[in-house]
């Protein structure tokens, strides 16, 4: 067994690096931590629950994975009141109605052959009823992901926004990759989809759900990683400006703010600074563009006195 391990370890490390470099090619810069999580979820066939502050690329991670594996991304956005009919399946009522119309005509034929009541019931029993069958099933995201022939990447976004009931109902899907439809039976997927759940932690996710998932926490990136992300997303940015900008944002995150600036906001800011043809950070300019980074007036007020200080620091 130990031999086995050594060999698999070698390849595990390679595979993780492989994932990382592939993501990088698509412009999704991540550390080994994230790549390891992806690797494990693939090899163990387990869903990943991704948590972290908003705007650190939780949803992007799923997109990057889908692109890398060349599988379709099926996305389910959660909200309060989301239920089975919208997430899993729905009957095609209109077609079922039409079917009953057709059935009416057919029924006469079937029943007319027999003369006694018993035999007509017998005939009716033998008659293949498709009222509740997969033909009239309208698959919603979850069922689609399970049914897909070549596998898929299923993204269940912002699971914390959904109700407790919905969470409970996800359990079957996440542990066995199967769906029970009362009228038909159990539908089991041929290929396990790769499942991502994201959460912003607006409410505590149930233990049962957590137990079934690998748990990945993505924090705000460290300066080094953030610089890499910026140069990948905004390649035309000046090198000095990039370092200043990242340091400045990292400094902002240490302040006591209502909503900390996220990576996506750093990227937006970098883009606008490039558009404005800025070479180095100046207090007046930062004050004018700060609303790109901070989305609350109170946050802007709080950070205002610190700006000169932060710029000073970021230039070192």
């Amino acid at each position: 067994m130990s031999n086995n391990k050594t060999s698999s370890n070698g390849s595990a490390k390679d595979l993780i690096e492989n994932i990382q470099s592939n993501f990088e090619k698509q412009g999704y810069i991540c550390n080994t931590h994230i790549a390891t999580a992806i690797f494990l979820s693939q090899s163990l066939g387990k869903p990943i629950l991704v948590e972290g502050p908003p705007g650190v690329g939780k949803t992007e991670l799923a997109k990057a994975t889908a692109e890398w594996m060349e599988k379709p991304l099926i996305r389910l956005q959660c909200y309060e009141g989301l239920d089975e009919a919208k997430a899993l399946y729905e009957w095609k009522y209109g077609k079922q109605l039409l079917y009953t119309q057709v059935l009416k005509d057919k029924l006469n034929q079937i029943v007319s052959k027999s003369d006694s009541l018993e035999s007509s019931i017998e005939n009716l029993n033998n008659f293949d009823d498709i009222f509740f069958s997969e033909k009239f099933l309208e698959p919603r995201p979850l069922l689609k992901a399970i049914e897909s022939e070549n596998g898929s990447v299923l993204l269940i976004d912002e699971i914390d926004k959904s109700d407790d009931e919905f969470e409970a109902f996800l359990l079957e899907i996440l542990s066995d990759y199967q769906v029970s439809i009362p009228e038909i039976g159990t539908i089991k997927g041929k290929v396990k989809p790769i499942v991502f759940l994201t959460s912003n932690n607006t409410r505590e996710i149930g233990d049962a759900l957590k137990r079934r998932c690998l748990h990945l926490y993505i924090p705000f990136p460290d300066p080094f990683l953030e610089e890499k992300i910026i140069s990948s997303r905004v390649p035309e940015i000046d090198k000095n400006l990039k370092i200043q900008l990242v340091n400045f944002v990292q400094g902002l995150r240490n302040l006591d703010l209502k909503k900390l600036p996220s990576v996506s906001e750093t990227i937006d800011w970098a883009r606008s600074l490039v558009l404005l043809n800025v070479k180095t950070l100046e207090p007046s300019l930062v004050r004018e563009t700060l609303n790109i980074l901070l989305k609350f007036q109170t946050d802007i007020d709080v950070s205002d006195p610190e700006i000169d200080n932060l710029i000073e620091k970021s230039k070192k």
Partner: protein, 450 residues
């Protein structure tokens, strides 16, 4: 591998990290995917399946570092093959055990710390060290492990040396014995720290939640606010589900017909009316003078931890004058807010009459039939006018008044306690002296208000 994981998970569990069986199976799979060679990779990977919140990840990281530093210095090179050897020897080759004993002296003299640690870990396993619970057991386990590692042989050698008059060797061996004993002791002490750091805490938490809050010590505040958060989480999960259930009302026939027009008027889909859940409005008036300050402090913290299911809470604190503290709690960390409340409003001599008048003035017309007014205090008004008439008007305007008194019922009405005069105006008056009581009271209140 199984052994080390089992041990590690055992330690995680004892550090207040709930690891389920299915998660340990996941961890097993993770290890067989990743292997044991790369420590940091292993740590990352295990954290995905064993620690599922940010707090848990911190605990996990600490445990992992401690565990691997102490126990398995060289897990892949020394531990695994040695374990196999030993297993073989137990079954096939009784002589091998002697070999093991021989090596105790050599083991020490070679001054190879890793193999020493490995031998110790193995002996510890055989001595069931994982069952250690209390600090007082250290001595016993030291002896057990020492025996396991071959103390007898060493003692014999010492005895032999002294009989042969080889005092130098005797001295050396005695030194070795002493040093080894110290090593083992230290090892066990570390293990105790690692494994029992939390059982003590759990006992303490249980005790604290039952204890009378008036006697709570400052040093326990931190643990207690942890308990409060736990209680709040529990109540939130219980009551948010109840709330949702009660939201569905009767069948809305008109909308049902309209929604089903596309199906030729055949009713496939049902549309339900929504019942309006009247969110309870809560006004809490807390006595923060010396005697009941602690109870109020925790009650306020508790109420403000429940914002998820109690969005309309207004809190007031008083000793002789009442002031609103809602903003404090909304804008600051609850622990800081609690401390500031006591500072701002505490200190004076209690005057319930004045407090009721102030409360009425501050609320003006904000008390209505949905409002629950909670008064928390010992009702000791320093012989001032209790102003029951004001309490009566509050009662008439509000849905109900709850009076929580930290004093036992037997002393209500004694001395300057006006409790018995307040009771008629309250729909409920309860003794509330511990965190446990607090939880029950709030639970009760939520149950009856939804």
């Amino acid at each position: 591998m199984v052994d080390f994981l089992r041990d590690f998970i055992h330690i995680l569990r004892s550090s207040d990290l709930r690891v389920s069986t299915s998660e340990s199976i996941d961890a097993m799979n993770v290890v067989s995917e990743i292997g044991l060679e790369d420590r940091s990779l292993l740590k990352q990977s295990l954290s995905f399946s064993l620690a599922k919140t940010l707090r848990e990840k911190e605990i996990f990281s600490e445990c992992f570092d401690n565990f691997f530093e102490e126990n398995y210095m060289n897990i892949n090179e020394d531990k695994l093959p040695q374990k196999n050897n030993e297993k073989d020897s137990e079954i096939n080759d009784p002589d091998a055990l002697d070999k093991n004993e021989n090596s105790l002296e050599e083991l020490y003299n070679n001054s190879d710390r890793t193999s020493l640690m490995t031998a110790m870990a193995l002996a510890a396993r055989d001595a069931n060290l994982q069952d250690i619970r209390l600090f007082t057991q250290v001595g016993m386990f030291t002896r057990k492990i020492f025996d396991e590692m071959g103390l007898e042989k060493l003692n014999n050698d010492i005895f032999q040396a002294s009989r042969e008059g080889n005092s130098k060797r005797e001295e050396d061996l005695k030194n070795i014995r002493e040093n080894l004993r110290l090593e083992i002791r230290e090892y066990i002490e570390n293990q105790v720290k690692l494994r029992t750091s939390n059982t003590g805490k759990q006992l303490r938490e249980d005790a604290l939640s039952q204890m009378r809050l008036t006697q709570a010590d400052k040093s326990d505040y931190k643990i207690m606010s942890g308990i409060i958060k736990k209680m709040a989480r529990r109540l939130i999960s219980v009551h948010s589900r109840r709330k949702r259930k009660s939201q569905r009302g009767l069948l809305d026939i008109r909308s049902t017909i309209r929604a089903n027009q596309e199906y030729d008027g055949i009713l496939f889909e049902t549309v339900w009316k929504k019942t309006k859940v009247d969110r309870p409005k809560i006004v809490a008036l807390c006595d923060v003078s010396g005697s009941v300050a602690n109870v109020s402090r925790f009650f306020l913290m508790f109420l403000h931890s429940l914002t998820e299911i109690l969005p309309n809470v207004r809190t007031f604190a008083f000793s002789n004058k009442a002031g609103e503290v809602t903003d404090l709690f909304e804008n600051k960390d609850i622990e800081v807010a609690a401390a500031e409340t006591l500072l701002l409003n505490g200190g004076g001599s209690t005057d319930y009459g004045q407090a009721f008048v102030d409360l009425e003035g501050l609320l003006e017309n904000n008390i209505d039939r949905k409002t629950t007014v909670i008064v928390l205090g010992d009702a000791r008004s320093n012989y001032g006018d209790p102003r029951c008439d004001v309490l009566k008007t509050i009662q008439e305007k509000s849905k109900r008044i709850l009076f929580l008194n930290p004093e036992p019922k037997s002393v209500w009405g004694t001395g300057d306690s006006e409790m018995l005069r307040f009771v008629p105006y309250c729909s409920k008056s309860k003794v509330c002296s511990s965190l446990f009581d607090l939880e029950r009271v709030v639970d009760d209140m939520l149950r009856s208000s939804i």
